[in-house]
Amino acid sequence: MTPSLHDTTALYEAAGSLQLDRVCVQDEEFQRFSLAVRELQSRLGDDASDSYWQPVLRRLRRARWELATVPLPFSYAGFEISEAVTYLTDRLSDCEHVFPAHAAAAREVTACLAALPEGNADPLGPAVRDIPFEPPGALLLNNARHAGAVEEDLAGPLGLAVLTPAQLPGSAVYSTMAVVGPGCWFPVHVFTAPKAREIRVVQFAWLSDPPIDARIFAGSQMGGGSSSLAAHGGGSQGATLASAELLPVTNWAAIAAGTGGSSDMQDERPDTVSAYLLLLASEQAVYLEAEEGSRAYVAELGSSKELHMVPTRSIQPGTYLVNRVGGEGDYIPAIADRLLGAHAPGLRAAQQRWKEPLRELAASIGVQGMLSRLEAAGSERANRANLRRWLSAGSIRTEHLADFAALLRVAGLQEETDELWRDMEVIDQAHRRAGQRVRALLVREILEGDTRELEVRGWQDYDVEEIEGEGALRVARVEDRHPDPLRVSTRLTRQLLPVDRDLWQG
């Protein structure tokens, strides 16, 4: 949808005359807890990376982060503070024996955390309520995890829209927006491409917040003068904790280990592939094949909605990835099988029939031996990457009949070449039709539909009647991406894998 010129003018006016103020709140109990976490980390030093302490620190950091970013009472059940205290108490029960030097600090931090919900303190909520919002107003949260509860308990009664930064590109201009947390916890565009004429940063006073440089080009000029943005009023002078310390750090090693990924790229077993590991807003992980030619559907929301089938290597945080939920593997084969109906089992069996002997042979004589035989059998495109793709469960047939004929000759199935090529052609066409169905669904639901819920929550399921059972497509925002490809079993690719919430906290 093209925004009107009127809306666009409002965005320029907001950027040109943004009023940025800060509302600082105090809470001594929470400050004590936050500093106790830092103190424990500091005392642990190298021990912090010990497997004894890692889960403890993750749980503490998660609690501190959520309490500092969500304007709800500390007793809000969604924070799971009592569960965290129980977990920590249990986990640290033998600390006196294992790490006696740190036991006192561990007890102190656990006691601080346990005390937080008892007083039913709610430092951020009243600070938000006290802001004189000019309608329309909005409340910006760092992430959507507790957005529903915030909307129900705080924003709804005040008539405020609850947003996350990912929603801002497509958002209209609000009169007043409360941003919960120091500015440095948010993407700079929250302030440099503001969606409100007035922004109030609501944060704890003891958190630092450096000025923001609005420029993205080196050596540039900024119209209107200053390129530095700093909130006025209620300053965070006297800050005792650097805000950056609280930011979640994704623990990639633990997530990879917990989802079957390996950083050993020398592992070339035929049932493993190189894959990109992505974290999704649905608090799940997914592996996408990294091989040349691997593609996936993504949607981009914001000022202009787009839908693309893109190379997996180009998928970045902020885009919305289309996955299958329920059942194993990719959604395209599932829909294709539905379209093939009663013929599907036979055709899939045929697909496996020519791959199985080749896989067994590859395991026996190795990749180089296979390539030599394929070359001798007339394949012109046999190389390591192609062989791996041809033998993978996902591939249907080769692009050229000559390569397919060579594969079947090596597999000892040369007499079935024509028949199997025809069968694979049928599967291939079904995959193409399945892709068209998926695209039609996504166009209807995302390009032409209302995506507000998807943007607020970060993910949404869409029923697809062609997928049997509980089949649906899950469109989920990519929140993060492992910096390097990993090796993973082929059966784990394109599957939504659960990720422990604590692992997002590093």
Binding site: P3, L11, A193
Partner: protein
């Protein structure tokens, strides 16, 4: 944005292109407004067939059957060239054109009504309205021969971005231009005249290129566009090498996650620049708009 597009179309440096980069609070309408400025300036500075005699000679040099547009008042009709003839009575040279219902013989003074179609496609048999919003265009582009602008084809500007979005902005009737007596409504497509918008094969001054498309979708033209406008990081990162001899105008919406990628590419170019550029020197840049201009080796 009109001025930025205009500057990008008018500045010239031997052996160098000017790169103008703007980071904006919102991208909507920025690229199409810049394209309007670029097309209008390119037309003003280099109007087609300003020398009638030169144009007559050009038409005379073309083979018979060359597809042409013939425009008169606010109508345009397509036809074919049929050579040049000398009147046996008065000795006047005239170019013959074959239209659907008749042939016409046009002397030098009227030959500028004839413009060659670069991409003839399927010639239309019917006359059609040449300028959709003549009053709007006349007020928006004072001093410009809007009939000639609308009737002639030359690729002055390429616009790379999300095709659907850019088409929507080009055809949005959200603009007005007027005088003391009235304000006339119109759209930017009347000025930008992007090729093949709305399924028409009208004369064009610019072309849209989908940022996500393959190289084969680039418009093919004999002339080098004055300006390549890149609407967003993907457009710039995927397509900038396609028009090395044009000036570049890069527009990045700071609110989009892709903005840092585009800025990184701009900054890389800036780091290896030939020199700073004063292309935007005396422009009054609105608050909240970040600007950078430099010269880069072609």
């Amino acid at each position: 944005m009109l001025d930025a597009g205009s500057r990008a179309a008018s500045v010239q440096r031997d052996g160098a292109r000017v790169v103008i980069a703007l980071s904006l609070p919102a991208r909507a309408f920025a690229a199409v407004l810049a394209a309007a400025g670029a097309v209008a300036t390119a037309f003003r500075e280099n109007p087609p067939a300003s020398d009638a005699a030169e144009h007559f000679d050009y038409l005379a040099s073309l083979p018979e059957g060359t597809a042409i547009n013939h425009h008169r008042s606010n109508k345009v009709e397509q036809g074919r060239l049929a050579g040049v003839e000398i009147d046996s009575v008065d000795g006047t040279a005239r170019v013959r054109i074959k239209l659907r219902k008749e042939d016409r013989l046009l002397p030098v003074g009227l030959c500028t009504e004839v413009q060659v179609i670069d991409d003839p496609g399927t010639l239309k048999a019917r006359k059609q309205t040449l300028v959709k919003d003549p009053e709007f265009l006349a007020c928006a582009l004072p001093g410009v021969d809007t009939t000639s602008l609308s009737a002639t084809t030359r690729l002055d500007c390429v616009l790379v971005g999300v095709q659907r979005t850019l088409e929507g902005e080009l055809t949005a009737r959200e603009f007005g231009a007027g005088d003391d007596e009235a304000v006339y409504e119109g759209n930017l497509q009347g000025i930008v005249r992007a090729r093949d918008i709305g399924g028409t094969k009208d004369a064009y001054r610019s072309a849209l290129v989908p940022a996500a498309s393959e190289d084969g979708d680039a418009p093919i033209a004999a002339s080098v566009p004055k300006v390549a406008i890149f609407d967003g990081a993907r457009a710039f990162n995927n397509w900038r090498s396609r028009w090395p001899d044009s000036n570049w105008l890069v527009l990045l919406d700071r609110g989009l996650p892709s903005a840092p990628d585009g800025a990184a590419a701009v900054n890389q170019g800036y780091a290896t620049r030939l020199a700073e550029s004063d292309a935007l020197g005396d422009l009054d840049i609105p608050a909240g708009v970040e600007t950078l201009a430099y010269l880069e080796r072609q």
